[in-house]
């Protein structure tokens, strides 16, 4: 007995305080307090009481602490828990909606297909009423706890489903071979049916003289404390999916368990039989009565009628009698019962009337059972008229049939056949790489079940450890034992297993979930739904909360009877997940939608910007008035954060070759220090992306892509290089650089205040790409002008982003500088006629028709898209992207509006704005080629009216490009007024740390957290849970090259070179560094912030000396880093990544690149002071997102940020 008599708790049921015993289930406590009606049925609102007491049937669904549809029979009591009944008005005991039970003739099977249809307009009313009166629990208003769901990913070698004797035996045996074993069991404690069976086979004292429950305890104890066995208790395996993925749900917590082998030891369960009023509270399954008795310590009734169909039922009667229940009769469906059975002798000795060849035909009573009608059966098993007797009782315990828990096995490819001799589906074939053991296979004696379990566990483990050949003798021994137990066991009478006896009477429920009666099933078959799959959809049997556990076999038996066929011929419905109801929130999991922010994000927030989404990026749409921002740029100077632009670093002697291949225009003739616009197409000639190409040296390029195109273009470039052996390396450095576009007629004056660089058009002409210092920090300056003014696109290391923004704003103050957002930029570039890929182009746009023939060099040799573009050129253009101006300036049609020519839709508007500069309504549109020449008129259909528009030659603004190129210029005499603000480096987590009250200090130029709470507290939290240190400032160098190992061997000796996915600690030029070998051809060099440049110099020197193809890219600014330290590190990580992080896969001193809450992350494992420790590196723009998901997931483990002071303390101890 699991209850602890000494400890009492108080629970509340419909606002009524109830005293309960610790260890009891809620249902047990309520039952002890006299509650008999636990729910109201779906359709007729009939009272329903406890039936299975095992978490399978739909009868005890209640709202527990705001969570609806909790099965209270397997939910343990907790002090102060609030329990509410569901689906009843005004109360569960007096439910007025019970009136539907009286008018059931109006609600025949499938009534919703026949009624409540006309008039159609009333459907909303019908729907509201139906939804209120029918159904189960309802969700309350959103509330924190009840809406919180968790997700976790686990890996194992052998999964064992079911914690009964077979499962326990399998787990123990498999684990003995050293493989990882995970046992999933739906009950609160291990042991399966042994937990509550004190008699029968299980109670026959074994050699050690143990009873069933003692055996269960000793088997379970065997598993405790074994490092390679993990038990997930109180959890349901609800689905078996491709790749041995097992869906496991424990309340609000979903576990994706990935196994290599699975042993199903799901057992069997008891199910009800069909007779009149068989749903009356007081009708209980035999196992349910025993569970109440043994597990909750509650007597299920005072006077019981036991319905038996096998010896199992007789044993039940004996156990009830032993517990002090008066058994008024045992009705056994079998024609005769052997009087020599010990249990029969025992029952007769106790004076229990044993009626063979008797069936229960009706439960008597209103609201609860007061008696039962029994009838004698003839030789065909049909009731003999006039033989009925009535017996008073308050409990009808039914033990008349079991069903194997086959659903998951079906999903795993196992097959079952109906065996008429035992009236059961029995396993006929197992699926690939799975095993079955125990009662689910039809085994019945404990010895057989244990031997089967051990054998299945051993075979599963042997599959994974073919080296363990010494175990083959063990397998033979188990085979032998199994043979002995199977042959040696006295065949127990399995009796009848029939779910229904044909007899008159109504209100004979087949499906309790959906209130389907025997008559409903017969009517449905009469209406033609005779196939089980159509019958299922029409009557909805198996579709309720029990998912067919209670009703499937009964319905199949009825379908067989009504169709005049056998159950084997009728077959079963397809078993699909979920096997057990799962909350949609649990399937969805926590909200993990990645968000990217630039390094200047916080500055925009401070300016009160209105945000917009561009892919995953957050961008400022507008700060105040877009028109004012446009004017500010045209008349004075503006600045915009363009850090979202994709940025790719391309290096290698074949870089030109690769770029010539993917760009439509020429790259080879681009001079060093110059930048050029470029377009990429796919092989069907469609524009993929556009951006700029800057040449930094002979074999070093810096590309920009669209804001949403960075990853796709990185993939595109690496794909075209894959397998070619070209010496070229592409590194995505999007997040490594902050980028600010400074544009406007006074841009040069502003910039001149911050740099000593000669900004004259001679020294820094239009389309120059030069590196120089601005405000004391290194920048790459591209002289380009998307918005059509004199402009400087400044790229600096991301940690300086906010600083550069501040410095520019400060320097521009006297020139009336304005920050401008995406909206103003869209207007400005439209005035200039620059396209935005994916806004002005779509999946049919080629650059020739997009009016960019100048960027397509068909004469340069092969490139991606060339053959198709040649063809387009040869056949002539069909459409063209043109600039237009509305004839009526007040009309600004919506983007996407149709272009109408001769009354027919012939194109679309791709961009449309009112131009504050020109005071006109302008736009770009795709029009048929005949309408593409300037001054042609066409119509734009908007709001169901056609408005005239005139084609205008692009650009609308500054057609000569005089403003873009800027005039001559000589530096003002007051060139630079030192000192400027002090450059500060801000890491990705700086604002998050500050928000938690961190004390920031400058170390190596970076603003870092010295302490957050107190050193003692932070140290303690990291020892008990998880501590998190910001390691973003550390130096990170990305070294790529096919023979990178050769290069490293030259630097540190062959022996020190780490193998792929491993780490090595070495000295480079007197500096300690960690080499993380990310791949055969890639190493990430980790060092201190201070030593970064020195280490980079050493490696670059070595690269220069050799003649291999190696390249080094500094990714310090690109990657943000967090070090996790503490005993619960892995627990939090496995909530965020689906990758396998077990010690065997990611041991100490190794690394792995994994998906973490949908973003790419690098995990570097470096345990410290005996504590597991993982460094986590993510691309900087994802930093705050990663921080947020990490702290959210880690809350339950007491995650806390650590300052440098606490980290020093921890490291010193190490």
């Amino acid at each position: 007995v699991a209850v602890d008599r000494g400890k009492r708790v108080t629970i509340s049921f419909d606002n009524r305080p109830i005293s309960a015993v610790a260890g009891q289930s809620i249902a047990g406590a309520l039952y002890a307090a006299g509650v008999r009606t636990f729910s109201r049925s779906f359709k007729y609102h009939r009272p329903r009481g406890l039936l299975c007491v095992a978490g399978r049937c739909p009868n005890c669904l209640m709202n527990v602490d705001g969570v609806p549809n909790v099965r209270v029979c397997v939910e343990p009591v907790r002090d102060g828990v609030q329990i509410r009944s569901q689906n009843a008005f005004p109360s569960i005991e007096r439910d007025l909606l019970n009136v539907f039970d009286k008018v059931d003739r109006l609600l025949p099977v499938g009534f919703y297909y026949k009624t409540f249809i006309r008039p159609r307009r009333l459907w909303p009313v019908y729907e509201r009423v139906l939804r209120t009166v029918a159904g189960v629990g309802s969700l309350g208003p959103p509330s924190g706890a009840a809406d919180h769901f968790e997700r976790e990913y686990r890996y194992t070698d052998v999964a064992v489903i079911g914690g009964g004797p077979a499962g326990l035996s399998a787990a123990r045996e498999a684990a003995s071979l050293g493989v990882d074993v995970t046992l999933v069991d739906e009950q609160p404690a291990l042991g399966g049916h042994l937990r509550y069976r004190e008699s029968g086979d299980e109670a026959r004292p074994d050699a050690a003289g143990r009873s069933g429950s003692e055996t269960a305890v000793s088997l379970a104890r065997d598993l405790v404390g074994r490092a390679n066995i993990e038990v997930i208790g109180g959890a349901t395996a609800f689905g078996f999916y491709e790749g041995q993925l097992i869906g496991v749900v424990r309340g609000r917590h979903l576990i994706e368990l990935r196994a290599r082998r699975t042993v199903f030891a799901t057992g069997r369960f008891e199910r009800p039989i069909v007779f009149e009023n068989n749903d009356l509270p007081g009708v209980m399954l035999g196992s349910g009565a025993l569970r109440l008795l043994r597990l909750d310590g509650v007597r299920p009734g005072e006077r019981a009628v036991v319905v038996a169909a096998s010896d199992e039922g007789l044993l039940l009667a004996a156990e009830l009698a032993d517990a002090g229940v008066t058994v008024t009769a045992v009705a056994d469906l079998r024609p005769a019962v052997s009087a020599t059975l010990p249990v029969v002798e025992k029952l007769l000795a106790a004076g229990v009337p044993l009626l063979a060849a008797h069936a229960v035909t009706s439960a008597l009573g209103t609201g609860r059972v007061v008696g039962a009608t029994l009838a004698k059966l003839d030789q065909q098993g049909d009731p003999i008229p006039g033989s009925a007797i009535r017996i008073a009782c308050d409990l009808i315990a039914v033990s008349a049939g079991f069903e194997v828990a086959s659903s998951l096995l079906y999903q795993a490819g196992c097959q079952f056949e109906y065996d008429k001799s035992v009236d059961q589906f029995t396993l006929s074939a197992t699926g690939p790489e799975v095993y079955a053991a125990g009662e689910v296979t039809g085994a019945l004696t404990l010895a057989t079940v244990l031997a089967q379990g051990a054998r299945a566990g051993l075979r599963a483990a042997l599959d994974l450890r073919p080296d363990a050949s010494d175990m083959s003798s063990r397998l033979i021994a188990l085979d032998h034992e199994l043979e002995l137990t199977t042959n040696g066991a006295s065949p127990r009478d399995q009796g009848r297993n029939l779910p229904a006896v044909a007899h008159p009477g109504h209100k004979k429920f087949v499906c309790l979930c959906e209130d389907v009666t025997e008559r409903d099933v017969c009517d449905a078959i009469g209406e033609g739904f005779d196939h089980v799959e159509t019958l299922k959809r029409y009557t909805t049997f198996t579709m309720g909360p029990c998912q067919g556990k209670m009703c499937a076999l009964a319905t199949l038996a009825l379908a067989a009877r009504e169709n005049g066929r056998s159950i084997a011929e009728v077959g079963t419905t397809t078993a699909r997940p979920p096997y057990h109801p799962v909350a949609l929130g649990a399937l969805a999991g926590p909200h993990h939608e990645p968000v990217k922010v630039t390094s200047i994000h916080q500055r925009h927030t401070a300016l009160g910007t209105q945000w917009m989404d561009t892919g995953e990026w957050k961008r400022p749409r507008v700060y105040g008035s877009a028109a004012a921002e446009v004017r500010g740029v045209r008349e004075r100077v503006g600045l915009i954060d363009v850090g979202t632009l994709g940025k790719l670093d391309v290096q290698g002697k074949d870089a030109v070759k690769l770029l010539e291949k993917v760009y439509t225009n020429r790259v080879a003739d681009l001079r060093i220090g110059r930048v050029r616009y470029g377009v990429m197409c796919d092989d069907s000639g469609i524009i993929l992306d556009d951006g700029t190409i800057a040449r930094l040296s002979d074999d070093h390029f810096f590309l920009t892509t669209t804001s949403t195109g960075a990853n796709a273009i990185e993939e595109w470039l690496t794909w075209w290089a894959a397998g070619t052996g070209m010496c070229v390396h592409v590194t995505n450095v999007t997040d490594g650089y902050a980028a600010i576009n400074l544009a406007g007629p006074r841009a040069r004056e502003v910039l001149a205040k911050l740099t000593t660089q000669d900004l004259s058009s001679k020294a820094l002409p239009f389309l120059a790409a030069q590196q120089f210092e601005v405000a004391g920090i290194p920048t790459l300056c591209l002289r380009i002008g998307f918005v059509g003014e004199l402009g400087y696109e400044l790229h600096c290391p991301a940690e300086f982003g906010a600083y550069l923004w501040d410095a520019l704003l400060d320097a521009g103050k006297e020139h009336g500088i304005v920050p401008f957002g995406v909206e103003a930029q869209r207007v400005l570039r439209l005035e200039k006629g620059h396209i935005i890929v994916t806004q002005d182009t779509d999946a049919l746009s080629n650059p020739l028709e997009a009016d960019m023939a100048w960027v397509v060099k068909l004469d340069k040799g092969d490139f991606v898209g060339r053959p198709m573009l040649q063809r387009v050129q040869a056949e002539g253009l069909r459409n063209k992207l043109v600039g237009y101006q509305m004839v009526e300036s007040s009309i600004v049609p919506e983007e996407g509006s149709q272009v109408v020519v001769a009354g027919r839709p012939s194109g679309r508007v791709s961009s449309s704005r009112f131009s504050p500069t020109l005071q006109k309504s302008i736009g770009m549109a795709w029009v048929p080629i005949d309408y593409a020449s300037p001054d042609t008129l066409f119509s734009i259909r908007w709001n169901e009216r056609d408005f005239p528009a005139r084609v205008v030659r692009l650009p609308f603004y500054d057609p000569e490009g005089a403003r873009l190129k800027g005039g001559d210029w000589s530096p003002p005499s007051t060139a630079r007024s030192d000192p400027w603000l002090t450059p500060t480096k801000r890491g990705a987590f700086r604002d998050r740390l500050r928000a938690r009250g961190a004390t920031l200090v400058d170390v190596d130029g970076w603003q870092q957290a010295e302490r957050i709470s107190s050193v003692e507290d932070e140290v303690r939290r990291s020892r008990e849970g998880i501590g998190v240190v910001d390691v973003s400032p550390s130096g990170k160098l990305d070294l790529k090259g096919a023979d990178v190992a050769v290069l490293l061997a030259r630097l540190c000796g062959h022996a020190a070179v780490p193998r792929p996915l491993q780490l090595a600690r070495i000295e480079l030029g007197g500096v300690g560094v960690v080499l993380a070998r990310l791949a055969e051809d890639q190493v990430l060099v980790l060092t201190s912030a201070a030593a970064r440049e020195r280490v980079a110099g050493t490696i670059s020197g070595a690269i220069g000396e050799g003649n291999g193809c190696h390249h080094l890219t500094d990714v310090t600014s690109t990657l943000a880093g967090l070090r996790l330290v503490g005993p619960r590190c892995r627990d939090v990580l496995r909530k965020l990544t689906s990758a396998d992080l077990r010690d065997r896969v990611v041991p100490n001193e190794s690394c792995a690149q994994v998906g973490l809450a949908q973003i790419p992350a690098l995990i570097v494992r470096r345990d410290s002071a005996g504590q597991p420790s993982y460094e986590l590196y993510v691309s900087r723009s994802y930093g705050e997102y990663a921080w947020d998901v990490l702290f959210e997931a880690g809350r339950e483990f007491g995650i806390a940020p650590l300052g440098l002071a606490a980290w020093r303390t921890l490291s010193e101890e190490a």
Partner: protein, 99 residues
């Protein structure tokens, strides 16, 4: 879809970590007929059974590799790096249609 795919670098991972790059479809080299070019751009074999295809380890090492997979059962028979060498022409290995 819940099968595991083994990245030649990172090992077995959930298929969700990857981007499917389409069936292996070599780009014709040199002058070819319009029909052959149209086949390359627009037609896929779409086999029911074993297929050679591109995958990109999007959330991992961000490298392209080739897999042989049974499209009916999702059983992955083999994964490997695209082979470098003269036996297979450059275009026949990389740059095959839209990934």
């Amino acid at each position: 879809m819940s099968f595991l795919l083994s990245c030649p670098n990172c090992g077995p991972r959930s298929a969700y970590e990857y981007r499917f790059g389409g069936e292996y479809n070599p780009r014709p080299r040199g002058p070819v007929s319009d029909a052959a070019w149209a086949d390359y751009i627009y037609l896929r074999r779409n086999v029911c059974g074993e297929q050679v295809e591109w995958w990109f380890h999007r959330l991992g090492c961000r490298k392209w590799f080739i897999a042989r997979r049974d499209t009916l059962t999702n059983a992955v028979i083999e994964t490997y790096w695209p082979k470098v060498g003269s036996s297979e022409a450059v275009e026949a290995v990389s740059g095959a249609g839209n990934p």
